[in-house]
């Protein structure tokens, strides 16, 4: 078994004449909370879509938990959990009914036990019988994480997980992500814009710019490598500007 949770090699994606992703080679070791940073249109969502098997790559390879996203797509799907940026559910069904449905699709043999565990993990016990239509954005995000971890995936993909949440919601989500990583050993891959959040949550980062990976390192090493920059935000802007020290 490889030590890498995520490995990509020269991964590329083009839409017509537009190059959305260019020769992305990336390695994320197991147990990391990896933050992929980049401006709007940098290729972050395209990367997540390819890694979660939602989108075929134009060229290059990608492996999740040792399985190729093209030739072993089904094994990849058993190994990942995914929370899209705007998570939606079937509003006519209750939370439990939604989660049961997704658990069964992931081949979970005893959905009830796993749903209880997942709801506990996201601190959401007691909401199972509520209809999704009554949920706020923050509640939906937590329900979204619950659906993503039902089958205890090795890698959790979160696309802009804190987008649209209030400060309390952001703090709660951070607590859940760190707990999932530490207590269940899940590797977390997240796209985000909120750099202050990255400092508090992630163990390593990568920066995408116009479809190219221009930087990758641990958060601690990054903060140490740029002593003259006050925050990760300043470091990010510095790197993006193309003048690494």
């Amino acid at each position: 078994m490889t030590d890498m949770a995520i490995e990509t090699s020269a991964l590329a994606k083009t839409y017509g004449s537009k190059q959305a992703l260019e020769a992305l080679s990336l390695e994320v070791p197991r147990g990391e909370i990896f933050g992929l940073l980049g401006h709007n249109g940098a290729g972050k969502t395209t990367t997540v879509n390819i890694l979660t098997t939602l989108l075929p790559a134009s060229s290059g390879t990608a492996r999740i938990a040792g399985h190729d996203v093209t030739t072993g797509a089904d094994r990849v799907r058993r190994s990942i959990g995914y929370l899209p940026e705007n998570v939606h559910f079937y509003d006519n069904l209750t939370l439990t009914e939604n989660l049961t449905f997704f658990a069964r699709l992931s081949g979970v043999p005893d959905p009830a036990a796993r749903i209880a565990a997942a709801l506990e993990a996201v601190d959401f016990t007691g909401h199972g019988q509520e209809k999704m239509s009554s949920f706020s954005k923050g509640m939906r995000q937590r329900a979204g994480i619950a659906q993503a971890i039902l089958h205890e995936p090795a890698v959790l993909f979160l696309d802009e997980p804190t987008s649209g949440l209030d400060p309390q919601g952001v703090a709660k989500l951070r607590e859940i992500i760190i707990s999932l990583n530490q207590s269940l050993g899940m590797t977390v891959f997240m796209n985000t814009h909120l750099l202050a959040e990255v400092t508090k949550t992630c163990t390593s980062i990568g920066i995408l710019s116009s479809g190219r990976l221009i930087y990758q390192n641990s958060v601690a090493a990054t903060l140490g490598a740029f002593p003259d920059q006050a925050s990760l935000e300043d470091i990010y802007l510095h790197i993006e500007a193309g003048t690494p020290s």
């Binding site: 939602l54 799907r77 058993r78 995914y82 559910f89 079937y90 006519n92 069904l93 699709l105």
Partner: protein, 322 residues
Amino acid sequence: MTSLITLCGKELRDLSRNRSVRLLILFLAVVVVLSVLVAAADFRTKTADYTSYLAALKASGGAVNAPPPDLFPLQMLRAGMEYLEIVGSLFAVILGYGLIAKEKNNGTLELLFTRPLARHSFAAGKILAALIIWTAVTAALFAVITAALLIAGNAPLTGTDFIRLIIAAGHTIIYLTLWSLAALALAALTRAPATGLVLALVLWLVVVLVIPQIGDTMDPDNQIPGGLFASLQIDKAHEHAVMANFTGYETSRDLIEQASLTKQYERPLFAWLGIKDQYNQQSPAFVWAGTFNHTLWLLAGFAAAAAAALLAGTRDKLLRKA
């Protein structure tokens, strides 16, 4: 197989709680039952007219030679069946579109397709759900229609009548599911499901209304109110003799009508229910011999729609972005 059943089960639960779907089905039931009540009222009006005509004739000392109006209970279903043909298929289109649109618009497709589903599980689950829904709805509608016939229409139904109703219901299930699957396929194939809906509505308009309307309008007997031959006082036997000289025209007209799957549904339906005079009170073997080719075409249409839905409802087609 498990994921197919899971998907189908979710779909049925979701649809059964959907207020719009429930309202549509209720509306369909109401118009179909109303049509039976109207037919019963119409029959009573005709009977009352006949009775008063008879009384007036007797009072004036005239001889009675006009026969009383015949009651063939299943013929009262004509308007109701036409509603299923037109309005039912329209609702089937909307239901089929909704099966795909809600997943696309909700963003739940991403949640589904990051699960280990077999290539056709998603579409097959939806197809099975559509078939089950229309089987249940048709069974309920026909049960209500039969009750309306028995109670409001005061119609005596025989054992054969019930078999005819079951066969008509079978045709209806195939016809309505066919429309849902065609709309499902179109909604899956178009990037914006709303485009698929309008394409499906255009298809519905052409197949259900325009083609049959052209065929109907070309029928010489439909050119005069009450019928051309009736206005010329020519009986059925002579009508057939005259029309035998126009086989070329009639064949083209028939081919135009047959291009519409609605006619492939209507012809066996009207034959089994005895709405079409030539099949009224005839044996099942006679009806089958005269209409089985239409039933087979209807089944072929169903198979084509199911295949289109199965092939269109795959991960790569539903998730494509460019």
